[in-house]
Amino acid sequence: MAKENLSVWTSIPFWRRSAAWVTGFAVILLIWLTFDTMGQISMGTDEDLKNGVDKRVPAATVINYNIDYQMSKKRGHEVPVIGKKEPFFGKEWSGEEAAALLHLGKLTSQAKNCMNCHTLLGNGAYYAPDLTKAWIDPMWKDGGPMQGMTGKSTKEEAMAEFLMNPSQYPTHARMMPNLGITADEAKGLVAFLKHMSSIDTNGFPRNFSKTVEQFKAGGTNAH
């Protein structure tokens, strides 16, 4: 008689065991994912750059290389392509110098709270343009409007000049305020932005800096 009224759904041990299983599985999964992510986001080395080893996050010395953005048919989105060496602020930076410059840039980006308006690697705001791929934004390229406006002949100098005097240069409908960024800090920020653009973000941000016409034509900013 008792057997007919048996219900596992009202049995406390069943729910206790199920909860223990799901919680235990999730804990192990999260620990595994943590290590998996750490492997993905660990910075590459200068040797990787020299040997052409693809790392999601390249070494700081990537600032010594040309960074292009090309459509990858295989992956279905644009990927940063690290090319030939090019001077950055007129010189080649050693591993230590590049790391120190990048660190200064990172600290400056935090001190000036860039994320209060901009987005960096998916974090921040969309009040101002997404800076994840700012270095490869066509507006800064040779012969582009920003180099002309700032009167500089290289991308890095134009960016640094803009960062030091942002309120002088009309860029977007909402102009950037002057944040009192020094010349050294500006250099660091430019290095920080260049390095960030070289990070493989699986095509994020989507349709970066494309015009409506380019988007309709299925075009890219690959150049």
Binding site: V8, F14, S18, F25, L29, Q40, R56, K74
Partner: protein, 50 residues
Amino acid sequence: MLFEPFTDVVPSFFGWLNQGPLTLTIFLHTVIILPMFWIYFQEKKKLQGK
């Protein structure tokens, strides 16, 4: 296509699972739910044995 060739930069088990729409979700739910059937029938047996 549910399964596509792996195209990520850094090879990873989760990256491979996540190449198609919902593939990671479907896999994880299956892995979590299936042992619960086993728990269910074990508990049922225990209750019937009482």
